[in-house]
Point group: C2
Chain length 210, copies 2
Amino acid sequence: MIQELTEGYGHIFEKALINDIIQVGTFKEIPAGHKMMEIGEFVKSMPLLISGAIKVLREDQDGDELLLYYLEKGDTCSMTMACCMGQHRSQIRAIAEVDSKLIMVPIAKMEEWTSKYKSWRNFIFESYHNRINELLSTIDSIAFYQMDERLIQYLKEKARVNKENIIKNTHQEIAYDLHTSRVVISRLLKKLEQMGKIELHRNYLEIIDL
Amino acid sequence: MIQELTEGYGHIFEKALINDIIQVGTFKEIPAGHKMMEIGEFVKSMPLLISGAIKVLREDQDGDELLLYYLEKGDTCSMTMACCMGQHRSQIRAIAEVDSKLIMVPIAKMEEWTSKYKSWRNFIFESYHNRINELLSTIDSIAFYQMDERLIQYLKEKARVNKENIIKNTHQEIAYDLHTSRVVISRLLKKLEQMGKIELHRNYLEIIDL
DNA sequence: AGTTTTATGTAACACTTGTTACTGCGAGCC
DNA sequence: GGCTCGCAGTAACAAGTGTTACATAAAACT
């Protein structure tokens, strides 16, 4: 754990803080697809992401989903912080997008470190800031762009996060993330294929030049 | 200033912190319609809202707007914090919705108080939390609801913030906030009027029963 | 009062997206 | 092989929203 922690966070956290984290943190490996947090749950600990990616989703009353953003190496879940501090419930769902490694830190330490370590404070503030900016991007995407553009953005982002140009999802799964219907996605993907930007296959697609 | 500060924040801030704020803060009265922050600007101080309401907007490349949320009594601008700490530029525009009173605190103190006062830390975290939840509500609204529902939500929220059932805006202004066209708003408002939920007039409308 | 400006009402139409229905294809299973 | 099941392709249509155009009415101005 020491090595992974130092590698990912050594340049931003003070030595003493790193030691504290090692004392109380627990290392975890999460398989792709594993649900890490559900809407309405209370949270007891906070994740520091070492590698992999976590998909963060919002859901409406009917159970329809919408992808908000991905958490990656060096990120933490701001929702967790906000929830724990104020005894609120999670407003989001989190699912491992790929196999991921992370360190779980008990919430109790949060408050302590916030007063003790400047680097921790900065990390938390940066984290909030990043999450807010990602939510703003999500809003831009929904409010200002149409589905064809949103789909392209989605595929690019997904390829970036997964570090490969093959998107292993059915049209239905993509439709869930973008909160639209399978037919709409099939239609738009077909157009992209005809433009030579992607290649379609069963259960996956390949990005050629988006 | 002391009285206003104590009234609005006395129950959450420690005595010593209140005193610190009085030392370095400056009291300001902002007239309705005044632009308080522009996209791309750097920010030097942070507002503590005493009374009134601030409208927070997002803008796309074409200059099209979208209302994100309102800041009210007891709120602060999380963007400000995030921006100042990390030397980022504002991602949003802020305009006084009504005449408002606030205390401006120099950013330099932020960092200091965060380590010094637990109540300040909690305030900042609560503030981030609230803002994130408001962004999530905005996303819900855009992603999961159609324009007729969004319009109703908008009118209700506006009435609440303005503390009156008369909305003093043209259809065009409402259309800007919801990022749609004037014709669409006129159409939907007319329907609401026919349902007896509102009464339409030139330059304003009255909410009867939404 | 007459003119101009601005806000609103409304119709007609286009475009995007969502829905339904049906097709065929491919993979896995018996 | 024959069967089932899930995935993708496609057409036809419905609904919602955006656009253009024009008419009318209220307010503002001269």
